[in-house]
Amino acid sequence: MKSFRWSTVGFQVLAVVLALAFTSLVLMIAGTPPLAAYANILNGAFNSMKSFADVAVAWIPLLIVTAGLLVTFSAGLWNIGIEGQIMVGAIFTTGALRLLQDSALPSALIIVAGFLAGMLGGALWAALAGLLKIYGGVNEIFGGLGLNFVATALALWLIFGPWKRPGVGSMSGTEPFPEALWLPLLPGTRLSGWSVAVGLVGIIVIYFLLQGTYFGLRLKAVGRNARAAFLLGIPTSMYGLLAFLICGALAGAAGAVQVTGVYHRLIPSISSGYGFLGLMVAMLVNYQAIWAVLVSLFFAALNIGSIQLPIVLKVDSSLAGVLQGALVLFFMLMDGVRRRFQPKS
């Protein structure tokens, strides 16, 4: 903490209040009592161990993705291609599992190979965005966006083409893998203890990488002022590329979790939008790893809690996205207001 101030906290509380007020207004326009909607979301996320386990199922990939994004943000890069990196990670994992599932290898080893393949795939896709930026002058935002669409097309082509189910391909994805290739689930839930372990190890490693290593320090120097860092002798291009590779590998790991731990096959929407959501989490926590753990859990709870809204209150589940977006937006607005009016010490 550089300079803790109560007024800073005050502005953040105000941001939460304004975001809730905005979302309540939106709910009233839709003719839904706001309190009922919020109660419903909380209930849907926390009413039983099983629903809380579902929240954790969404939390883990979001946390892994956010961990990766902390690295690219530290380097001053906007890795919007993260969605595609999750997708290609999932594709590589699926490919590795398909290749090895009939072999004599023990299934644990096949799953590990699937994870490594996923991380490789995500890193390759991120490297593409990085190379386009460094050697092609293509802004990473547009290179990344384009690559997201290409990754989606690649997944669709595989699902409807070479990897289609016996008979006819469909949006429901590829043939599910045998249960031996699933990450073992905690009893009575859809959550795997192994994916929780991967997620926590991921964020801890990134925390120490950024806070406790020379590499992290230099990476942040590149992010703050690339020109000054370059003049000080830091190879900025290489650091940028490394940040992309690390983030891509983590995104790929999130894709591997989705394939081996959640869906057990490749589906067109395998990334579940966690990449963009991770960008929002990283912005909201102002790029601090510890807060990322809690905020990603909260965002996952909003996503899971809102799933039943269409059934219970006849409103769309995109309410979660409205609340998440409003939170990030008002945090930024209040940060701006604070900087403008708070006297400098």
Partner: protein, 331 residues
């Protein structure tokens, strides 16, 4: 010429119209030095709002008006957050893109699949009867004609008028423009909101014409705004070149549809995204001239090859306004 081909060409002009509105709106905003990344969400939101207003009032004109107003409001918020409060343009724009999209899906839910009015066709008398040309250009609706005019109007404004020159100045060298008496931040507000209003016309142009109706997440609008942003870069912040990009993109999408039956092995979703890799490639081509290693590589080449390649790169090259994304302090 057979009429299927002609109506195909006419269809390309119509399909490109909303992208044109968005790309030219963004061109004006970025010329002033502000990146508006919210376009993708704003198009979806204004498509929904325009459709709902048109259904409720049974007036497509009011639908377009509502779209423009909502589009302007979104960018007014962006301008306030980034110009007045000095927050990151990319961060605020990105969040607005997601927030607007989810707002559209949430509030538009009751109107999913409802049948609504469509902008009526208005062949221009005399001109529509010209063989071939009339069929391609002059049998559309008013917004499509407006899109032709917008290209020329924006070009003329930007390059041939005094305010246009000032606009280039506040995006290129705001200090110099300020020294010559321009109120940089007020003009940035103006062009950001104007650009947003133009983006806000793109939305209803989809929901009331090109992709009529509101179908929530399957309206097929998610992604178009990002394309419009890429076309702005491809267009080198020049309305004419942006128009070329928009028509080229619409042509590629049409090609995808036409080729579909002859390529049964490839799912339709794949052909629909075919323009994106090409978009990356074109961005690479227009940007690669800016990369440092290219200069070094060129220096090592023989005289004649170097001249040829550097002229080629310069012709394609597209450099952003000098102060794009940089906040300006009046003090």
């Amino acid at each position: 010429m057979d009429s299927a081909f002609l109506s195909g060409l006419a269809g390309i002009l119509a399909a490109a119209a909303p992208i044109l509105f968005a790309a030219i709106g963004e061109t004006l905003t970025e010329r002033a030095g502000v990146t508006n990344l919210s376009v993708n969400g704003a198009i979806i939101l204004t498509a929904m709002v325009g459709f709902v207003v048109a259904v409720e009032t049974n007036s497509t004109v009011l639908g377009f008006l509502a779209g423009a107003v909502v589009g302007a409001l979104v960018t007014l918020l962006l301008a306030f957050a980034t110009i007045t409060l000095k927050q990151s343009q990319v961060a605020v724009g990105f969040v607005l893109a997601l927030l607007c999209r989810d707002l559209a899906y949430f509030l538009g839910n009751p109107y999913m699949g409802v049948s609504g009015p469509i902008v009526s066709h208005l062949p221009i008398p005399l001109l529509a009867d010209i063989p071939i040309i009339g069929q391609i250009f002059f049998r559309h609706n008013l917004p499509v004609y407006a899109s032709y005019l917008l290209v020329f109007l924006a070009f003329w404004w930007l390059f041939k008028t005094r305010p246009g020159l000032m606009l280039q100045g506040i995006g290129e060298r705001p200090e110099a423009a300020f020294a010559r008496g321009a109120n940089v931040n007020r003009m940035r507000y103006f062009y950001t909101v104007l650009g947003g209003a133009l983006v806000g016309i793109a939305g209803p142009l989809y929901s009331l014409s090109v992709k009529a109706g509101w179908k929530g997440t399957i309206s097929g609008l998610d992604g178009i705004g990002w394309i419009a942003l890429a076309i702005t870069i491809f267009g080198a912040w020049n309305p004419m070149r942006a128009a070329l990009g928009a028509y080229f993109f619409a042509f590629l999408q049409w090609l995808g549809l036409v080729l579909q039956p002859s390529l049964p092995g490839i799912p339709s979703q794949v052909l629909q995204v075919a323009p994106f890799p090409l978009m990356i490639l074109t961005l690479l081509l227009v940007n690669i001239g800016n990369a440092e290693w290219v200069d070094r590589a060129l220096a090592a080449m023989p005289e004649k090859t170097r001249h040829f390649i550097s002229r080629l790169l310069r012709a394609m090259r597209s450099s952003p306004p000098g102060a794009l994304g940089v906040p300006f302090d009046n003090e």
